[in-house]
Amino acid sequence: MNNNRLEKIHRGLHREAYLWARQCCSYDDDKAKDVLQMVYLKILEGRAKYNEKGKVRTWLFSVIRYTAIDLIRKDKRHATLEEVSEPALQEEKSNGNDYEKLLNKLPYRQHQVLLLVFYHNLTLEQVADVLDIGLGTVRTHYDRGKNTLRKIIKNTSDYEGW
């Protein structure tokens, strides 16, 4: 795939890629921009190669996720993404609006599965590819995530009149 074709494809996916990068970086705009730039550089230098098996979007989302994890791990202010799943900690670190703050209360995997399914309209199979986990595991996180988010929304609406 030549550079012009690559550029055309990524230009079309740019906005969605940015939003996903932002979601992978706890809704931090600056980090999301850094991640996206690093991802494009990886692609241009051939360090991230699309093997033309699945959809480009699924592959790109996967590269963005791994790059965001690397960046956050390098950042000394954060520990690891897995550790950031604790709701109380997440609420403190959240940079986003009310919706984003509520989503940050979810455990990391459930958070990402729900975003990919409901926000980015991916199938569960595609989510499994992006997160590099089994379909069964995705289903478990999907069901648990939905229940948890419903409870969070209900609790918030009870307190804040949502």
Binding site: E7, L19, K33, Y40, K146
Partner: protein, 107 residues
């Protein structure tokens, strides 16, 4: 789980998307970072280094020329692998002593 049960969550994410519609994505920059940006300072640094080295070599040569003028070593061949210095220490007249001085008894 029935699809109708997801309506609440779908509405939640729909509202979230509506907020994100107003969010500006960064400009699309699908290119490698230009290496020219780093070439100018690197060129200046290299130039300065070369100038510094040239200065060091020049002053070292000047210094060694002066030393050559001041120190003269004269050597002669004493054999295929020997050299002997012709500079020999002469006995000073002020320090001269008669070889028979010890025979003079001062009574």
């Amino acid at each position: 789980m029935k699809d109708g049960e997801n309506n609440e969550l779908k509405a939640f994410f729909k509202e979230m998307k509506a907020i994100d519609k107003h969010r500006d994505a960064p400009p699309f920059e699908f290119k490698k970072q230009s290496k020219r940006r780093f070439m100018l300072p690197a060129g200046v640094a290299a130039g300065l280094l070369i100038l510094l080295l040239a200065c060091i070599v020049f002053f070292n040569r000047r210094e060694s020329t002066y030393q050559n003028e001041e120190v003269i070593l004269v050597v002669s061949e004493g054999g295929p692998f020997e050299t002997e210095s012709l500079i020999q220490q002469q006995t000073s007249v002020e320090k001269w002593e008669s070889p028979t001085a010890s025979l003079i008894a001062d009574f």
